[in-house]
Amino acid sequence: MTVRMPEADSAVLAKRDRIVAGLRAIVAGEGVIATEREMKPFESDGLTAYRQLPMVVVLPETTEQVSQVLAYCHGEGVKVVPRGAGTSLSGGALPLADGVLLGMAKFNRIRDIDFANRVVVVEPGVTNLAVSNAVAHAGFYYAPDPSSQIACTIGGNVAENSGGVHCLKYGMTTNNVLGCELVLMNGEVLRLGGKHLDAAGYDLLGLITGSEGLLGVVTEVTVRILQKAECARAVLVGFPTSEDAGTCVSRIIGAGIIPAGMEMMDRMAIHVVEEFVHAGYPLDVEALLIVEIDGPRAEVDHLIGRVEQIAKQCRSMTCRVSNSEDERLLFWSGRKAAFGAVGRISPDYFCMDGTIPRARLPQVLAAMKTMAEKYQLRVANVFHAGDGNLHPLILYDANIPGELDRAEQFGADVLKLCVKVGGVLTGEHGVGVEKRDLMGEMFSELDLAAQQRVKCAFDEKGLLNPGKVFPTLHSCAELGRIHISGGKLPFPDIPRF
C-alpha cells in the first residue's frame, strides 16, 4: 500500500464483536459479513493496486436499514465506506480497517418509470445500463454512458458524477439527475429535488453529485430519460499528427457542430486495439478521431457531410463515414475495447483521468513521451476529444520491483501537468485515494477549508468515507472558528454614496 489512510481506531477495533452483533440486529442473516474469507471480494475496487479488508461488511436492503446502520455507527463512532458495484478507478470504495463497508448492491429495483415526465426513479444499486434497458421498448434511454455501464450503479454514478463518451452533447450525471433520497451519517433521511426541474432552495443535489460518498448515502435517485435520436452516424479519421487531429476538433466546434461524441486515440492505442478487435483501424496514422453525430436523419446526413469536409481540410490521411448501424458499431468497437486490449500486452495498467483545455493536447502528449522515457514505461492514450478529458493508460508489471512506484509517479506527473496547463486533476473518475494527495496542486488551504466546512454541515463527526478526496482532515470545531481582525474602512479613498 503506497497511500496512507486514517489511523485505525483501536477502541473501535476492540469492540468489533459488539458492533457486529449490533449491526446484525439491524440487518439480519447474510446481510452482515464478518469472516475474512467472505469479506475478501470487498477489499478492493477498480483500483486493484490498493486492498484493505474492512472491519465488517453490511448489505442493507431498505432505506430504514441504512438509516439505522448509520445512526448506530454514528453513536458508536464507527466509520462507514459506501460501495456501489466497486468499479471505481480512484479507490473510492477502498475499505477502512476499522470501518463498515456498506454495500448498496441489494438496492436493485426500478421503482417508477414515468414517460409523461420523462424520468425514472431507481434504487442506487441499479446498473447504469439497466436504466436504459428498462425504457428502451419506448425508444428512450439514459444518456450518461460511462464505459463500465454494464456493471456500475446509479448510486456510484451520482457519487462520482460519471460521464462517458456521450456526455459532450448530453451532459454528465449531474445534468441528468433531478432528485434523490439521501441518508446522512447520523441516520437522518432527506429528500432532495424530485420530478421537478430545479431546486427549491440551495442546490444541495448538485453539491452531493460528485461528492464521492462523503456527504451521505444515496438510497433513491430520479434520473431524466431522453427519446433516442432518430439516427446516428460516425466518421473515422486518421491524421498524421495529433496537432492535425486537434485542429479538426476545434474546427468542428468552431463550425457550430456539437457531435454526440468525439474520441481520439494515439498510435500506441490504435495498434493495441487493432490487434485485438480488428476494427479496420489505419495503422500508419499518429492519431485517430471518431466523430459521432446523432439526431434527426436530415440533420445527421447534413452534419456528417460537413464533418467530412472539415476533416479533409485538416490533412486527414484516411476518412471513412459509416453507412450502416453495423459499420458505426464497428468504428466504435476498437475504442470501446481499448482498456481490455491494453490488458493483453501488459499485466497491469493505471488508467489516468485528467482534463485539459483541448488545444493543449499536442503539448501534453509530447510531454508524456518524455515522461515515458524517463520512467521507462509505455503509455497509450485515449482522449475524450470533445471535452478534453484525457485517459493515459500507463502500462506496468507489478511483479517487477519498482514498476508500480514508477507508474504512480508517472501518473502523478501527468496530473500535475494537466493542472499546470489550465486543466484539472480528474474529469470523471473522481479523486478517491488515487489523487487525494495532489489536491494541493489545484486548491489552496482556504479552498479546501471551504469544502471541508460543507462536509461539516453534512457529517460533523467525519465518519463517512474519511481518507478520500481530502489530504488533511481538520476538526469541524477548528474549521468553525472565525478570526475577525476588525479591519479598516474598505478602500477609504473611494467616495461612498
Binding site: 442546490d203 470523471e428 460543507v454 474598505p490 473611494i494
Partner: protein, 404 residues
C-alpha cells in the same frame, strides 16, 4: 436609502466583507440591482455594489468557454458571443420588465446567483448546468475558488452548484466561468391552438417524448395569450420550438405538426415570429405590463405533468401560463395584498414541487414565506451549509428564509 460600497476589484470585495465582518454589518449584494426586489426584504446595513467588477477575461470559442468578472453585464457577454454565433444556451429569463425596469439588464453573476433559466432549460439545462468555475469571497472574507475552465471536472465538491441559485447568501462571486455553445442556425415553432390546460399538458408530453428535439414547450392559455408576441391568434396556444440547421428544422416541423394534429389545429411560426414569441415568454410578458405590476407573482416549479393539476388548485381569478412543458408556472394573483399563499403552498405540498413568491409588496414578503419552506431536516442542513460559508450572516441575511 442604504449606504453603498463599490469595490473596484476582487481584492476590494474581500476587504469590504472583512470590514463588514469585523464591524457586525450586513451587506446586500447587488450587480445592477435588477433583482433587488426579489426575496425577503433585506435587513442589511449597506449595499455591496459589484457592478465595478466588469469585463470578459477569457473567451475561447473553440473551447466553448468564457470567463468574466461577475459584474459584467449579460448584454455585453451575449453581444460578444453573438459575434461568433455562440450563446448562453440556458437562455437566462429576464426579471427586469416584471419590476418595471428595462429589459436586457442584469449581470452574469446575478444570472447565476438566481439560476435564471429560460425556456431552453428543458433541452440545454439550467444556468447551473453551464457554470464551470468560480472565484468568490465567502462571508468569512476568504477568497476561494472551485471548478475551472473545463466541463469534465469532478475534482472536489461542486461548489459552483451550491452557489448557483443561492441568491448571494453564501458568497460574493467575483469571477465566473461558463460553458458557451453554438447558436442554432435557425428556429421555428409549431403551435397547437385552443387546447385546455390538461390537453396541452398531454400534447407537450407527446412532443417532448418524440425525437423531434424540442427546445421550448410552453402553454399560453386563452386569458393571457394576447399578451405574447408572434402568435397568429389571441387564443390559447401550445407552443413547441425547434432549433437547428435549416433543413433539419424544416423536416422536424413537418414531423411535429403531424404528431400534434390529433390534439387540435396546428399553426406554424417562422423564425421571426418564433423568436418574438420566445422572447416574450422569457420576459414573462403578460405580467410585466404596467397594469399587472402591483400583483403578487408566483413562480411554481413542479413535474411537467402536474402543472395543470396545481393550476386547478389556485384561485380561478389568478392569471397564469406554463413553460418547461408544464413544469414551470407563472401565476399572477388579482389583488396586491392577497397572494393566495395557502392554496399554492398546499398545492405543491400535495402534488410535488415548490413555489417562490417572486414579486409582492415588501410588507407581504416580510410577513409570509417567499421561498418554499423546507422540511425540518432540510432546513437544518441548509442552515448548516449557510453557516459554513457565512457564520455571522454578513451576506444577504434572511434573503431566502428567516434566520438563514
Amino acid at each position: 436609502m442604504t449606504d453603498r460600497l463599490k469595490p473596484r476589484d476582487a481584492k476590494e470585495v474581500e476587504d469590504a466583507v472583512r470590514w463588514a465582518l469585523g464591524h457586525d454589518k450586513a451587506l446586500e449584494l447587488a450587480g445592477q440591482g435588477s433583482k433587488r426586489a426579489i426575496g425577503r426584504p433585506s435587513q442589511t446595513d449597506l449595499t455591496l455594489d459589484l457592478s465595478g467588477l466588469s469585463g470578459v477575461t477569457l473567451y475561447e470559442p473553440a473551447e466553448l468557454v468564457l470567463s468574466a468578472r461577475a459584474g459584467t453585464p449579460l448584454a455585453e457577454i451575449e453581444a460578444l458571443l453573438a459575434t461568433n454565433n455562440q450563446e448562453l444556451a440556458f437562455e437566462p429569463m429576464d426579471y427586469g420588465p416584471l419590476f418595471g425596469l428595462e429589459a436586457g439588464k442584469g449581470t452574469i453573476g446575478g444570472a447565476i446567483a438566481a439560476n435564471l433559466s429560460g425556456p431552453r432549460r428543458i433541452k440545454a439545462g439550467a444556468a447551473r448546468d453551464h457554470f464551470l468555475g468560480v472565484t468568490a469571497v465567502t462571508g468569512r472574507a476568504e477568497t476561494i475558488k472551485s471548478g475551472g475552465r473545463v466541463v469534465k471536472n469532478v475534482t472536489g465538491y461542486d461548489m459552483c452548484k451550491v452557489l448557483a441559485g443561492s441568491w448571494g447568501t453564501l458568497a460574493a462571486m467575483t469571477d465566473v466561468t461558463v460553458k458557451v455553445l453554438p447558436k442554432a442556425e435557425t428556429e421555428a415553432t409549431v403551435i397547437v391552438e385552443g387546447l385546455d390546460d390538461a390537453r396541452a399538458s398531454a400534447a407537450m408530453a407527446a412532443a417532448m417524448g418524440s425525437s423531434c428535439d424540442v427546445s421550448g414547450a410552453a402553454h399560453l392559455p386563452d386569458h393571457v395569450a394576447s399578451w405574447f408576441d408572434g402568435l397568429p391568434k389571441p387564443e390559447a396556444a401550445t407552443a413547441l420550438r425547434l432549433e437547428g440547421v435549416a433543413p433539419s428544422v424544416a423536416h422536424r416541423q413537418q414531423t411535429l405538426a403531424a404528431l400534434m394534429k390529433p390534439f387540435g389545429p396546428v399553426a406554424l411560426l417562422d423564425e421571426k415570429d418564433s423568436r418574438a414569441l420566445w422572447r416574450s415568454v422569457r420576459q414573462v410578458k403578460p405580467f410585466a405590463a404596467e397594469s399587472a405590476r402591483e400583483r403578487p407573482l408566483w413562480r411554481i416549479s413542479t413535474a411537467p405533468s402536474k402543472g395543470h393539476e396545481i393550476a386547478a388548485l389556485i384561485t380561478p381569478a389568478a392569471q397564469m401560463f406554463y413553460d418547461w412543458a408544464g413544469g414551470l408556472i407563472w401565476a399572477a394573483m388579482p389583488f396586491a395584498h392577497e397572494p393566495d399563499a395557502a392554496s399554492i403552498r398546499g398545492a405543491v405540498a400535495s402534488l410535488g414541487g415548490h413555489a417562490t413568491l417572486v414579486r409582492a409588496p415588501a410588507s407581504l414578503r416580510a410577513s409570509i414565506d417567499v421561498f418554499e419552506p423546507e422540511a425540518a431536516g432540510l432546513r437544518g442542513l441548509s442552515k448548516r451549509v449557510k453557516e459554513g460559508f457565512d457564520p455571522k450572516g454578513v451576506l444577504n441575511p434572511g434573503r431566502m428564509w428567516a434566520g438563514v
